[in-house]
């Protein structure tokens, strides 16, 4: 799996209803996991590490929970493939008391 396999994310834009199942090049998304509560289209075979790259997130600042399992290590993240229906939570520290 290399980053070139991954299509650009539509995160940030407001997708039209139903449009999230398609990737920007018009092809059907191969997998659509739910990421932080919303559908995220990814190419087939995309891993958690690919997801973080797609969303332009610094992996060192993020804790990943995949289907309830915390993925601690970079190796795990680069090997764990995502599937439609998977639930991913990307979590970090924010200001609080």
């Amino acid at each position: 799996m290399t980053p070139s396999n991954i299509h650009e994310s539509t995160a940030g834009a407001e997708p039209a209803p139903g449009a999230w199942t398609a990737l920007p090049d018009g092809s059907a998304a191969a997998v659509v996991p739910t990421v932080n509560g919303r559908p995220q289209s990814l190419a087939a075979g995309a891993t958690v590490a690919d997801l973080l790259r797609t969303l332009d997130l610094d992996p060192r600042m993020i804790v990943v929970e995949h289907n309830g399992e915390i993925l601690r290590h970079d190796v795990t993240r680069s090997q764990r493939m995502l599937r439609t229906g998977d639930v991913v939570e990307l979590v970090h520290f924010v200001g609080g008391g």
Partner: protein, 270 residues
């Protein structure tokens, strides 16, 4: 000269460090990182407070980047000790989940454990926090447990493995100050682990009065962040904490219902 009098030469070592689970802190003031108008004000206020422990919340990354970013963009984790909290959790399962996620961030195994029971008052769930403490302590967490000012709950939390107990002065964000000094004093008197009063401190006199009860420290957020000048209030809080601590260690005079003159009765002019 009585034995307990501190000589002026000892002024640089006025107090032992606050030690929790074997870790020593010079400052007895811990601060939150929420509700600041800007990151710059937060940084300056935390600096002015002298705090070494700062608490942070665990939340989803905002994928639209419209509001929050990682607090680590503004707080240097090599300079401050990050104490993740489980604020916003209303069940044992949620609090345990948030604590595990926080630990996976890789900074430390500590957690400020909150299991909230009621949205209007944000009062803690005493049964839930005891259960969650037991689970997390068994997993190797160093649990600082947020609780109400009830002695029996505090004792249960210590039994469950908490390394510190965090009873409230008054509800979170209320600024009502220390509502029950007797209850806090009793908790401190009976517990073996450190007692850090958390929540409700509104101004420096609240911080001072709280420390005068003999507790080991105070954690606050809104009292500083919601002041008109947070940096100045952080300075006041630092002094309030230190004044209250020294007053406690010094031991206050006995209260009397009658006046006693400070100047000699003898030697008045004829």
């Amino acid at each position: 000269m009585v034995a307990s009098v501190t000589s002026v030469a000892d002024l640089s070592v006025l107090d032992a460090p606050l030690t929790i689970a074997g870790r020593a802190f010079r400052s007895r003031l811990m601060v939150g990182t929420g509700k600041y108008a800007s990151a710059a004000v937060m940084r300056s206020a935390i600096e002015a407070s002298g705090a070494e422990v700062v608490t942070v919340a665990v939340r989803r990354v905002d994928l639209d980047r419209s509001k929050d970013e990682s607090i680590l963009a503004h707080i240097d984790p090599t300079r401050y000790f990050l104490l993740a909290n489980t604020a916003g959790c209303y069940s044992v399962a949620d609090a345990v989940r948030y604590a595990r996620i926080a630990r996976a961030a890789g900074f430390n195994e500590w957690v400020k454990l909150e299991v909230i029971a009621d949205e209007a008052t944000l009062l803690p769930d005493p049964v839930g926090v005891v259960d969650a403490t037991r689970v997390l302590a068994a997993e190797g967490f160093q649990v600082l447990a947020y609780t109400n000012d009830d002695l029996i709950t505090a004792l249960r939390l210590e039994d469950a493995g908490a390394v510190g107990i965090m009873p409230l002065a008054s509800p979170i964000g209320s600024g009502l100050g220390l509502l029950n000094p007797y209850a806090i004093r009793t908790i401190k008197h009976r517990l073996g682990v450190p007692v850090i009063v958390d929540a409700g401190v509104g101004t420096a006199s609240d911080a001072c009065l709280t420390m005068e009860q003999g507790v080991d420290g105070v954690l606050m957020n809104t009292g500083i962040a919601a002041a008109h000048d947070p940096v100045r209030m952080a300075t006041a809080m630092r002094h309030g904490i230190e004044a209250g601590r020294q007053a406690f260690l010094a031991g206050r005079m006995a209260r009397r219902e009658v006046a006693v003159p400070s100047s000699p009765r003898a030697g008045m002019l004829g």
